[in-house]
Amino acid sequence: MIRLAVVDDHPAILDAIVDAARSRPGIEVVGRATDVDAAIELVEQARPDVVVCDVWIGGQPGGLQLVKRFGGGRGPRMLMLSGFEQPSFLRAAFEAGAAGYISKASEIDEILAAVEAVAVGETRFPAVTLSALRDAPRPPSAREMEALRLLARGATNDEIAVGLGISIKTVESHLRRLFGRYGVLSRTELALLAVREGWLSTDP
């Protein structure tokens, strides 16, 4: 039995998820909350296995606060729900240790399937929900290509910065933009993507 808690400040969405989860075999709803404080209390007392949580609660990124507090460790698996398409939110959730991040526009069945997946240790970061892939993503710029080439050779950010004569912060910024644009979450994924897309084929 998966013990599930749902956190969303929007009653209609909260009800819809809770109702669907109750009629799903294998999932037990142990609580619901509509604000950050109530959610913290709920998680600490009811000890759910999975928390489905809105990123934006009460006019602020309360969901990110919760995932920073509970994500990644031995606490519940945090599955983030989001109405935002900006990659920054996805990346922040991922880095804070969320187990998944799915669009609020997803079917309820999809959300529950994601609950079952993260409960057994999988992650769900379907990049296709992000705006990055809404338009066909454009290839990297010349400058970004140089950074990618060094990255694919295993260079650290410091080495890329020295190699290109730019600041480390600019390197980080380049990488964040590339992550967001191509819907990837790690340097490895980015390097693999660059090879797969043939961006590095001119590399001697």
Binding site: Q86, S88, S167, S173
Partner: protein
């Protein structure tokens, strides 16, 4: 009320100085004339300055007949002539005091009632004093043989200057206090904690002082309100022009029995349009993650939508951002400047490549946006302003409102460079 004061001051200057004055009076005439012009011109935009100028104008003008009355001896020039001289100087002094009293007791003042009472007592006392002098002279009596008419005349006129300055000081103090209250409210709105640690650091104190000075010019605050109104109207316009037609088309198609796929397509288009309209106005990434990530987001969206290259370079010391972020209103101003500069470069200058350079720390933001578009000439800039595009003017005002500076330059051979610089506590 300031209109009435302007008329009074004008009356003093004209009536008192109209008869050909001696060349010795040139300086007070120039001073009062100049101050009067400043007062009348500034009366809408900067009432505080206007009031002070009117007080100065009438004080300078009243000085001429008062000086004249001191040396006028009724025994020499005759009683009739002396009465004219004394009457003019008394009238000028009393009206000057009335103007200063009006300034001190402007109705929005706290404690205005007590000051009004004080002012009325002083005006009455000095009026009575002038009257007594005139009566004494007419009666030809001297209560104290040692006391000459010159002494009697000099005492109230010496006091008169003091009273006018005192009343004007009340007015100035009231203006500054009201501005400080408005400034605190504004800083609190901007997420600046002015309530608890009242100017604990020097930067905070400087922010308070600067905002207070700005509030002394109510026109500035009005311009801000006008910009908010304009923004509301733009938002409504965007919804009307972009979102409503798509929705109505979708409704019409469904009512005509159109297929679900078309409806989905239409609604998807509405979704994208709404998202774009919101992203322009509600900088979520900025609020949550700060200026650098917000600029990345802006750069990515501009590249995707406009097919231009937008490079972003972050300068400054490396290390984590634990030093904190600049005040939210400063971040929003910088972001807005970048947004408008990118928009201008893409839409008006047909730029192909844009580069942003940014330095961010809690005490300083330096933002430079350079494009390779066709730039501008002063003629096209003037046209743009005339045709209602107030983008750049609004930006410059926003920049100075937070104590920053905005410089827009044409590059050689073409292109535009926009520089925003904000030092904390400038």
């Amino acid at each position: 009320m300031i209109g009435a004061a302007s008329v009074l001051a004008l009356a003093i200057v004209v009536v008192v100085l109209a008869p050909p004055a001696s060349p010795d009076d040139l300086l007070p005439i120039l001073v009062s004339g100049g101050a009067l012009c400043v007062g009348i011109l500034a009366r809408h935009r900067t009432p505080g300055l206007a009031w002070a100028s009117l007080v100065v104008a009438s004080l300078a003008a009243a000085g001429v007949p008062i000086a004249l009355s001191r040396v006028a001896n009724p025994g020499v020039i005759g009683l009739g002539e002396w009465l004219v001289v004394a009457g003019r100087s008394s009238a000028a002094a009393i009206v000057t005091m009335a103007i200063a009293a009006l300034y001190a007791t402007r109705p929005e003042r706290p404690a205005a009632r007590r000051v009004t009472t004080l002012a009325m007592v002083l005006v009455a006392w000095l009026s009575a004093g002038f009257l007594v002098i005139v009566l004494l002279v007419i009666a030809g009596t001297r209560a104290d043989p040692e006391l000459t008419w010159v002494d009697i005349a000099t005492r109230p006129t010496a006091l008169f200057r003091l009273v006018v300055l005192l009343l004007a000081a009340f007015g100035v103090a009231g203006d500054i206090r009201a501005a400080a209250i408005r400034a605190d409210a504004r800083l609190a709105d901007a997420g600046f904690d002015g309530g608890v640690d009242h100017g604990r650091s020097r930067a905070q104190l400087a922010d308070r002082v600067r905002t207070t000075l700005r509030e002394l010019v109510p026109g500035e605050a009005d311009a801000g309100a006008a910009a908010v109104d304009a923004e509301r109207i733009r938002l409504a316009g965007d919804l009307h022009a972009v979102v409503l037609p798509s929705l109505r088309r979708a409704i019409a198609e469904v009512e005509a029995g159109g297929p679900a796929e078309t409806l989905a397509q239409r609604l998807h288009a509405v979704d994208l349009e709404l998202e774009r309209i919101m992203a322009d106005r509600w900088p979520l990434v900025l609020e949550t993650f700060g200026l650098v990530e917000a600029l990345e987001d802006l750069a990515e969206r501009t590249e995707a939508e406009a097919g231009v290259q937008v490079g972003l370079e972050i300068v400054g010391p490396d290390g984590d951002a634990r030093g904190g972020r600049p005040r939210p209103d400063i971040e929003r101003t910088a972001w807005r400047i970048a947004q408008v500069a990118l928009d201008n470069a893409v839409r008006h200058a047909a730029a192909k490549e844009i580069s942003l350079t940014v330095f961010v720390s809690p005490e300083r933001i330096k933002l430079t946006i350079t494009d390779d578009g066709r730039g501008f000439t002063s003629a096209t800039a003037t046209d743009a302003v005339r045709s209602g595009s107030r983008g750049l003017a609004d930006l410059a005002r926003r920049a100075s409102a937070v104590g920053g500076s905005l410089v827009i330059d044409a590059r050689q051979p073409s292109g535009t460079i926009v520089r925003f610089d904000w030092p904390a506590g400038a």
